[in-house]
Amino acid sequence: MKRFSLKYTLLTYRLDQLWFPLAFLAFFIILTLLLRNEVQNYDIARAYVGFAVPLVGGFMAAYAILDDPALELRFATPIRAAQILLERTTLIFLIQAVCANAFLLFSLIIGVDFSPLGNWVNVQLCWLLPTITLIALGTFGALIGAQTMVGSFLVGLVWFVELIVRDGMAVNNWKYAYIFMSILSPEHPDLVSNQIALFALTIAFLFVAWALLRKQERYI
């Protein structure tokens, strides 16, 4: 039994969670068009895919599971915690993937050169890894605190602190948890280790989130 419907997953998705990433996308596109400067266009593109997309993804993930009006009814059905988790976080990831790639495409069309970030795979990893890490963190935070606000606070805190201390993050042992390394230090010798570590962190956060979600009584 599949116990899944894409149609209803989309129909029950809150529209304000769609407007939020779209508003960011529109803002950065307008900003790029207004500035029309080759160097600044590159920086704006990096800011959007490397910083805005992960942040928005993390915030949305904090609301993904608990902000469900029919949560108690859902819990009373025989669907597994893993399915709820994947269904909700995958949707958020896909929205962010579409936004990031739409902006990358737009940037390429107006002539932005992404070669300093490496090949196309590396460009994709610049938004993908921080996004999945913050999505996992947002989900984990909301579930461990049993409140959506805890998840979004945690995402905002990590994002802000890492942005402020970015130079320090790149040179000590915290470099493995440095979510902006791909976008800010693409030449860093430990970039691959950092990317593997971020992926592992994502899996760890999602695993704990899954274990927490099995304790359904915490959330009703």
């Binding site: 009006p69 108690e72 359904q216």
Partner: protein, 299 residues
């Protein structure tokens, strides 16, 4: 069949520990079973445990042979469960038909032809066929409850749990709802949790009263009434005089000759004009609470 033995549920820890359920033993067979109790008695906790949402702290529960304290047991029970929670949250942007269809998918009804037939059937059953294509956000409280019961029934559950289903419904809706539940109880276990005594009296042949996490009474409504015989009186008093505090006023009526009180208590010593009267289930409930030392309303 539901077998509950020594069930406990504790929330919090240290000084903030709350014993929501305190050694509950119950055996429930098919048919309509009423769970009565004041607010905060532990009814919703018990319903949620039986739905597999909340884990018990201790004791054992077996439903049709499945052990609800294990993951496999919970999965099996949820597969044969229909649940209508007290606080019914729904996706109000969906139509009634879509919502019930979605819940059917979550419950594992994969065959779309059979599913749409079943969705139509349950919407017909709850009298919502005509408005099936309307969005839930435009529905009244009663209609939303009916959508709730439709989703609970869509998988043809062997066990139906309804928690305070008539709260907020108008009298006509309540009667319709009660009749619907009685019909459904013909071939399954229907567990009705409520603090409205009348709902139980009109529908259940078997009931339990829960207070402070303990079962105070287990039996039929007739047995409850029998236990109350000799403890209910009517008394008419003039002026500002009121019955003493050992007696609980169940109802009062202003008449030309004074105020007529319906009283429940151990005795009416000192009131020679008090007339013994036939107890109702509400009197039975009040007497049970009073005789077991529970706090009942001010006299």
């Amino acid at each position: 069949m539901i077998e509950i033995t020594g069930l406990t549920k504790t929330y919090g820890s240290g000084n903030k520990t709350v014993n929501a359920l305190n050694g509950v033993d119950l055996q429930i067979n098919s048919g309509m079973f009423g769970l009565l109790g004041p607010n905060g008695a532990g009814k919703t906790t018990l319903m949620r445990i039986l739905s597999g949402i909340v884990n018990p702290s201790g004791g054992s529960i077996r439903i049709n042979g499945h052990d609800l304290t294990t993951e496999a047991g919970k999965y099996a029970v949820k597969s044969m469960l229909g649940y209508l929670p007290q606080e019914l949250g729904m996706y109000t942007e969906l139509t009634a038909e879509q919502f019930v269809d979605y819940m059917a998918i979550l419950k594992g009804l994969d065959d779309s032809r059979k599913r749409s037939q079943r969705v139509a059937e349950v919407l017909e059953m709850v009298g919502l066929r005509e408005v099936a294509k309307r969005k839930i956000k435009g529905f009244s409280g009663g209609m939303k409850r009916r959508v709730g019961i439709a989703q609970a029934l869509v998988n043809d559950p062997k066990m139906l749990i309804v928690d305070e289903p008539t709260a907020g419904l108008d009298p006509e809706e309540r009667i319709r709802f009660r009749n619907l539940l009685v019909n459904l109880a013909a071939d399954r276990v229907v567990l009705l949790s409520t603090h409205i005594v009348e709902d139980i009296g009109q529908t259940c042949r078997d009931l339990a009263v829960l207070a402070k996490g303990k079962i105070l009474f287990r039996g039929s409504p007739a047995e409850m009434l029998k236990a109350t015989e000799g403890h209910v009186w009517t008394l008419t008093m003039s002026g500002l005089e009121k019955p003493n505090h050992d007696l609980t006023v169940v109802s009062m009526l202003h008449l030309a000759e004074g105020t007529q009180y319906r009283l429940v208590g151990a005795n009416v010593n000192g009131y020679s004009s008090a007339q013994p009267t036939q107890p109702g289930l509400e009197d039975g409930y009040v007497w049970l609470m009073k005789s077991t030392g529970q706090v009942v309303m001010e006299s």
